[in-house]
Symmetry: C2
Subunit: 107 residues, 2 copies
């Protein structure tokens, strides 16, 4: 991660600041999974899982794609996006200067 945009960095930290989302990352690190199965493994309802997945997706940590199973069902698969961030005070200082989000805007 080179010079980071402040808002982007903030969205990243917000995405990582939740135990369920870390668990989701943990599960997807092993293998990609479709939503219903992921909900079972993460032990949470699908509506809640969707909410968490959206935050992860907006942060660029996961991505999704629809597929058709052999028996014709629509399956939405999520997979982890490879990442490797180095967090230092200097990086945060550079990023902090470009932060614009104060109150939540349209997301």
């Amino acid at each position: 991660m080179s010079k980071q945009d402040g808002d982007t960095l903030l969205v990243l930290f917000e995405a990582l600041a939740n135990p369920h989302r870390l668990k989701i990352i943990s599960i997807l690190f092993v293998e990609r999974q479709y939503v219903s199965q992921l909900a079972r493994e993460a032990e949470m309802s699908r509506p809640l899982l969707y909410m968490h997945l959206q935050k992860l997706e907006k942060a660029g940590l996961v991505k999704s794609e629809m597929e058709l199973s052999t028996d014709g069902k629509a399956m939405k698969y999520y997979e982890l996006v490879a990442f490797d961030f180095t967090i230092t005070p200097a990086l945060i200082k550079d990023a902090a200067e470009t932060i614009t989000i104060k109150k939540k805007e349209g997301k």
Copy 2:
């Protein structure tokens, strides 16, 4: 950062997931500062600043010490703790397995 405890990692991400706290880090990166002055530079009230500083301190990102100014006033100085974290899916997977916090406990 070697193998990371899940709860510790979570507290770290939570501490970083706020624009004001990134700004505080940014200010302290330049030089250590006492609370009232820091409040002015960060453009926030002292009570609010205290709240943010506590989160940063619990995450181990800043530390404080009391000093007496030349004119005898008690001054609480905060300074940045050097850090350099590398965040990868593998690290999160290892950490996620040791996460215990589900609801907020005593802090």
